[in-house]
Symmetry: C2
Amino acid sequence: MNDAFFHGRKVIITGGLGFIGSTLARRLVGMGANVTLIDSLIPQYGGNIFNIEDIRDRVRINISDVRDPFSLRHHMSGQEVLFNLAGQTSHLDSMNEPDADLEINCKAQLSILETCRQVNPAIRIVFAGTRQIYGKPDYLPVDEAHPIRPVDVNGINKTAGEWYHLLYHVNYGMPCCVLRLTNTYGPRMRARDARQTFLGVWFQSLLEGRPIQIFGTGAQRRDFNYVDDVVNAFLCVAASDTAAGKVYNLGSNEVVSLKELAALLLEVNGTGNCELVPFPDELKKIDVGDYFGDFRKITTEQGWQPVLSLREGVKRTIEFYRQHGKHYWD
Amino acid sequence: MNDAFFHGRKVIITGGLGFIGSTLARRLVGMGANVTLIDSLIPQYGGNIFNIEDIRDRVRINISDVRDPFSLRHHMSGQEVLFNLAGQTSHLDSMNEPDADLEINCKAQLSILETCRQVNPAIRIVFAGTRQIYGKPDYLPVDEAHPIRPVDVNGINKTAGEWYHLLYHVNYGMPCCVLRLTNTYGPRMRARDARQTFLGVWFQSLLEGRPIQIFGTGAQRRDFNYVDDVVNAFLCVAASDTAAGKVYNLGSNEVVSLKELAALLLEVNGTGNCELVPFPDELKKIDVGDYFGDFRKITTEQGWQPVLSLREGVKRTIEFYRQHGKHYWD
């Protein structure tokens, strides 16, 4: 169904060399879209040129920073869909370098929206928000009406970034939609450190024969989406005529504790071990404990739901990093 | 009671040449505090050197921008209390120049907090927040538990600014307190335009013999605090040992419609007239309708309540601008 919508469509992805951005690009290329990728390749972020190696000749790549308002004017003109995925994702980095987080997650977002308003207000925009803005949940599963109460600089700035998008919809009629992502995992996630997701490091440890380190008791329960499911959600709301101005949680019906997840990784891999280590102080302060999301709204209104099982997702991820790991942690 | 706390105390006020900042400075000087005022004197903001003419020799004035991190390090060292009032206040300007609003209301706030964390983490900080972050109220009066749902860029950025302060309390134990101000009025408010409050323009019109212009029907109900009452609230929470990490609404028991308020101004002034004019489109979009706040929390926990009647406040304000108006609108 989405295929017809995206065939020949001009699509631009900020953070296009990143984990989700590159996976989205591959799907769009397959559907015959005209795809432009913007990425800063900042070493601490998720951009990795290897992520698009197999589609390199079928996308337009522009290495630039979304904080650069002049290049943005050029890029946004004439595009039909913007998947706005560029962001600083590390919670810890946001506490240690709050200004850099603000520059990417607030200032650049506002700049992207202002540019689109000026040169291309009809462009459909899907913004990659985060469940992090809910903070420590009052109740589970967390639905979209849950209070917004971020516990770190990243959460505060991602809230502002999301709200700018909604404001530009309400005030200027721009077709912006927000997805609040939970833990996304799969091939091409950053794996050299925990800046994007702790899971990257877990897969690296597993494949390099080191124990998976679980912080704390490992009892925290979380939900996980395989990257292809997340890409489906982006495509689904971008192609929908009823998603403008809406906010949707993603999520999964498979909720597991971190200990259970580690056990699953070991089991699927066939070998390996894991250990509990004390929660680092600086992380403990901003940890939100149990989280899993209620994603019934996007299922009801847009027909999206995750389809891949956690076990199958883990299997595919292990296979990918077994083959390509060196491009992610060497 | 506050007098003893502030006597000899080293106090710094950002936005110190502004409406509330300068009124606060005058009170602090009267109590024997050692007062430093930081102000950028950006023409579109509230700073006005005339605001402190009578206390000029009893305060230290430094004209600089809170976006300048280097001067901040110098200023914040050795201070005991920071009244953090510097801000961009115009909702309309925030929509037309969102980046400038972000620079002042987000970036500079984070920079101030980071600087204090590094050079003076024990400094008591009171942040001037705003009721604007509630957006269009779900219920009235609005208490502190009301959802945060800003309707303009200024509201989004002021939310971030407030949340940074609370985060630096939770994460680093810094004694930060937030006051959410409603409409503050009185001597020394910006009166040449509606950038700080529409009331400034109303007083100017009244005293220059032009009709007071009421946008829309004038039926919107609002609450108003006289500036001395607001200053009392700042002093009260700064001197309190139980205010750190808290958020308090200000407000008033006198809730009036804009039409009633205009009538009161005319009555107290003894002459003048007013007219209803259509709501400008760009303002209508971001207007929140009726608003008045529930301020029982600060009354119960900190003992603050407004004491001056609206009539008496209007009277004093008219007297001030009758005498000094030329310094505010010529």
